[in-house]
């Protein structure tokens, strides 16, 4: 949802009509997918919980998104690198979830993975075009990679819930996802003539609810209507 929101900020602001439409289409896919998860979560929890409450009425420390997706749209290089790193994780993650013993999670994942294959293809092509482009585009892409790469380690940090879900064969085996992620990243970065940062240090916290300041700005925007007019409907 958070990445969907970030991409929606580009609506009408993309560098060209085609990329604008592509990024907002990806945003739409992500919102559709997250609605399926939230609707299912609300159904499981029962009580008075609704998808809107999950989306709009949590406090920042209750959001469990990884730090990568909340990073701002600094420039097109940041948008593409962030998208590529996320897609390279998201596709194998959904492939794992497609095997989930929970039929609804498997159904959502099988539906979503078809869409995400297009996202990955789109972001990979832009990685290559800009990385292996002009001197300036290469430098900008490398700068974005150097900055954003630190947030990738968090994808594979196993929380207690991740572990329990894996053991019950409901969630994903993050080691498998990690392998697929690095395979894609190495292949695409090589073709894009971009260097993968060597640093072993990674910044995590998002999955535990500890976020960068960026999330606060997103939530101020995202939650404004529900906070001002509680329970409003579109």
């Amino acid at each position: 949802m958070i990445l969907g929101h970030r991409l929606s900020e580009l609506c009408g602001h993309g560098p060209s009509l085609e990329t604008d439409i592509a990024l907002t289409n990806i945003s739409l896919d992500l919102f559709g997918q997250v609605r399926s998860y939230f609707q299912y979560a609300a159904e499981l929890k029962g009580e008075e919980l609704t998808e809107d409450k999950i989306a709009f009425l949590r406090y920042p420390n209750q959001y469990r998104n990884t730090l990568l997706v909340e990073q701002p749209n600094k420039d097109f290089a940041y948008v593409i690198v962030r998208q590529f790193l996320f897609d390279a994780f998201h596709k194998p993650f959904l492939e794992e979830l497609s095997e989930s013993l929970d039929p609804q999670i498997a159904a959502i994942a099988k539906k979503s993975v078809k869409e995400v294959a297009y996202h990955l293809r789109f972001s990979s092509q832009w990685m290559i075009r800009l990385g292996d482009g002009t001197k300036e585009s290469h430098a900008k892409m490398q700068e974005a990679v150097d900055y954003l790469y630190r947030f990738c380690g968090e994808f594979f940090e196993e929380t207690e819930i991740d572990k329990e879900m894996k053991e019950n064969k409901i969630g994903a085996d993050l080691d498998q996802v990690k392998e697929a992620f690095f395979k894609t990243v190495k292949e695409v970065m090589k073709e894009a003539t971009l260097e993968i940062p060597e640093t072993a240090w990674h910044q995590g916290g998002g999955k535990k609810g500890i976020h960068t300041e960026q999330l606060g700005y997103i939530l101020a925007d995202l939650q404004y209507m529900q906070r001002t007019y509680p329970d409003m409907k579109w």
């Binding site: 085609e18 439409i21 289409n25 896919d29 039929p103 099988k110």
Partner: protein
């Protein structure tokens, strides 16, 4: 779709409901109606989205309810995700209508990949029929379409992507 003989007319009514983004195509041609259950004047229509975030789904649900209400039926809509919709479910009639409307119908999956990767020219221009076409953008006017351009007649056109 399995439906009792006496309820066949309901399917005819559903043929009148179209995708608001592709008005020439009925939801039956799109293959998004998965089942219809009838009990007296109560109908349950199960539909599946083309794309997760397809904004047309809510409208389609409302249109189904409205179309059947006119005929005295009370309808409930159920949305299912599995099995996931695929472009293979678009009927031959649907493909023909798409082409007539100016949207190139989806190729076979393997050919689709080649066309979208720009490896091979396979998508036929809906305006002049030339195969000398190039992809302008993987994402067209909606999530389900890619934008192509014909290099012979120079017309841009949409191509319905395989899913």
């Amino acid at each position: 779709m399995v439906i009792a003989e006496q309820h066949k007319e309901i399917l005819d009514f559903l043929y009148e409901v179209s995708d608001p983004e592709i008005p020439v195509l009925s939801i039956m041609d799109m293959g998004i109606v998965r089942s219809v259950e009838v009990e007296g004047n109560q109908v349950k229509v199960t539909i599946t989205p083309t794309y997760s975030g397809c904004p047309a789904m809510d409208v389609i649900g409302d249109d189904i309810i409205r179309a059947l209400k006119k005929r005295g039926y009370e309808t409930k809509i159920k949305l299912v995700l599995a099995p996931a919709w695929t472009t293979d479910w678009i009927t031959d009639e649907g493909r023909r209508k798409l082409e007539e409307y100016g949207i190139a119908a989806p190729l076979e999956v393997s050919a689709d990949k080649k066309a979208l990767m720009g490896e091979k020219k396979m998508v036929t221009c809906t305006n002049c029929g030339s195969k000398n076409t190039i992809m302008v953008s993987q994402f067209g006017s909606t999530a389900c379409k890619a934008l192509f351009k014909c290099q012979d007649c120079l017309e841009p056109f949409d191509y319905f992507k395989c899913l």
